[in-house]
Symmetry: C2
Subunit: 419 residues, 2 copies
């Protein structure tokens, strides 16, 4: 029997009416001949309420008890979804993590999957169950304690089940109807993509983060699970939403698939750092320890003359989220005070934004970078930092030009609707 995994997020199961709407979509797939594994999130707002109680009770909480409290939201939805399906004459039952059992590591509140044995669920399918409703976001540790995967973990649960059960596809129902070439709030010409490659989805963080959890995309890429993102609030058919899949399934050959952005970036430059082996690790080690999420890194080497002797020196520039700038400065000043690094000054620019073009087509198309820089130049936008990867080119620019840059790049690469 072919099998589908269908995942419904918090807004898709926010109340009994929406649970019934989601159940209708499940029933339709059962009627088309599928066995279905449904992964459910907590009703929207519930997880925040539970987390709030834990944090108010115990600011430095025991993550094992956090998991006990927070996992309860998904259990409620799983039971209600199973009841709703039964009311529609669909043989369904709920599964909690320990009943499958979904085996995870003991890293409470951030557990990772170890194994999802198929036996228990397969046996119930063999006995006539058509739908297994699984509580997302949770599992059980080797010690028999309840674990959770961290926020957004229900997407990852869905992909893991799709991989374990060899599902034909993993449909992620959410409150948007797919992945767009850019944020439709910034460019009215944004177009919904029919397909997107796993690698592109990972790079389109600023578009994708709100839609799919990064870890779930990584997992889907590794196990080649075809992921579909679609809206639970619209009628859907086989062509709805956006399919996230292996690049071999994608026929389009555009150089660029989408334009992404990140608004709250800061640029920090350590001026006149001595350039010697190990200096990079002397800088970025303390930053990592301080929990600073360093994104772009650029280094320029020059030579300076000190009292007749020539030293190789460098300016080291990196970016991080604006709310981590104070933490980064503290880490650098402490490392300098401890004699681990030497620099003349730390220059901060907290008024920048990152704009990126992403596309697997870049590998075979030339001139993508030139075209990008030209498009920005023609709008008079100055580029402060450039970094590139195989399928992405990112620039830091003044934040006030961010929307303009996104629109200009969207136009330059002809991503608009109907193009």
């Amino acid at each position: 029997m072919p099998l589908l995994v269908m995942k419904f997020g918090g807004t898709s199961v926010a109340d009994l009416e929406r649970i019934a709407n989601a159940a209708q979509k499940v029933k339709r797939e059962v009627e088309r001949g599928y066995d279905v594994i449904v992964i459910v999130s907590a009703m929207s707002g519930k997880t925040n309420e539970l987390v709030g109680w834990v944090e108010e009770t115990s600011p430095l909480y025991d993550a094992r008890e956090y998991d006990v409290v927070v996992s309860s939201g998904e259990n409620v939805t799983a039971g209600l979804m199973a009841l709703t399906l039964q009311e529609m004459d669909v043989p369904a039952r709920s599964w909690q993590g320990w009943q499958v059992p979904i085996q995870t590591t003991s890293a409470h509140a951030a557990a990772r999957f170890v194994d999802i044995p198929r036996e228990n669920i397969d046996q119930k399918f063999a006995e006539g169950m058509k739908v297994a409703v699984v509580a997302g976001f949770q599992g059980v540790s080797p010690e028999g304690r309840i674990t959770t995967l961290g926020r957004g973990g229900s997407d990852t649960t869905a992909v893991a089940f799709a991989a374990a059960f060899g599902a034909e596809r993993c449909d992620i129902y959410t409150d948007v109807d797919g992945i767009y070439t850019t944020d439709p709030r910034i460019s009215t010409r944004a177009r919904k993509l029919e397909k997107i490659a796993f690698e592109e989805m990972l790079e389109l963080a600023s578009l994708g983060a709100k839609v799919l959890q990064t870890r779930s995309v990584e997992l889907a890429m590794r196990y080649k699970v075809r992921l579909r993102v679609l809206s639970s609030f619209e009628d859907s058919d086989d062509n709805s939403g956006t399919l996230v899949c292996d690049e071999e399934e994608i026929m389009e050959s555009k150089a660029v698939s989408g334009v992404a952005y990140s608004r709250d970036e800061a640029k920090l430059t350590l001026v006149t750092v001595e350039d010697r082996p190990g200096v990079a690790s002397a800088i970025f080690g303390p930053l990592a320890e301080a929990g600073v999420n360093v994104d772009m890194i650029v280094q320029n080497i020059s030579e300076k003359d000190y009292g007749g002797r020539t030293f190789a020196v460098t300016d080291m520039t990196f970016s991080c989220p604006t709310n981590q700038v104070a933490r980064a400065r503290k880490a650098m000043e402490e490392a300098r005070a401890a004699g681990q690094i030497a620099y003349e000054e730390l220059v901060e620019d907290t008024e920048v934004a990152k704009v990126s073009v992403v596309g697997i087509g870049m590998r075979s198309h030339t001139g993508v970078a030139a075209k990008m820089f030209q498009a920005l130049a023609s709008e008079g936008i100055n580029i402060k930092v450039i970094t590139t990867s195989e399928i992405k080119i990112s620039v830091l620019i003044d934040r006030k030009y961010m929307e303009l840059a996104v629109q200009a790049l969207h136009d330059a690469f002809e991503l608009e609707a109907g193009a």
Copy 2:
């Protein structure tokens, strides 16, 4: 290490502040040298919310999924209580039914305990845990599904744990401060009992039902678990509340311990029923099938002359809750139509109430019934039906005299405060 079981009901854990208050009481017992098993209910209102969702989703719900949804409330409280105790430096952890495991029958929503193995919890006590916080009201079936015990099941969980772990006492914290000689809302002279025997507690249903679930008292009686009922909203010491215990622990020798009442009773009389073997089962069989909770039964035999032949006939009187009268009438009329029973008419009196005096001292005291009837007669209260058991005498009277009867009996048996 001596061990206590402490149970906190829904109003005692209604919010984080009350959970902290309950945790303080647990901490005090730990400091006095006890290992403690805490049984928690769902935060008040939560279970009703969850039951409401299930019933709205599926009027004829699958009890297995009902149990999945409804049991989640206790899990949340267990986690929050464990976190609160940890914040107070008390080594605590939460336990869900399947983790103990609390083995029950498969009778979902009305499961009964099969076994509570001590190994897992004892091992954690041996490793330094001082408090096991157990989610009340739930267990796990032989099939590995979550079960619940039915409403009020957390009391029963507490008593079952006290029996399994040989607890010194089982303290039931609730929103009243003990068991009274009668309802203080009816008689201002009602007095809190220091001790009450298990048998009396069971008979004092109308006083006790709101405080202790009947099944928990039965279980406590069977395993001789000393139960204490006390308020979670007052400072308590060893003499607080009311101890429900074996009669051997009770030194008082009053004939009557309390006066109970039941307001919504109806009296039904089948007039002129043929008196033959099997007639009682022909009447009460159909009533049981119709779900009528028959309480008192009285039968008077007489002889009647029909056309020169003498028949033994009887009037059969029974009582049931007023809201079951229509169901009882329908069952009787159908049985008559089917030729199973014969009677002249069914007379209903829906304006009656039941008043009872209860006391293990009745066994050794004579004249209790006479004193009761005298007290009622002196107030001009007519007795409609009388039934007696070894430790209880009940009468049906006109409902309008109920409060008067309770007060008169409370006075006659000298139960008042300070007596």
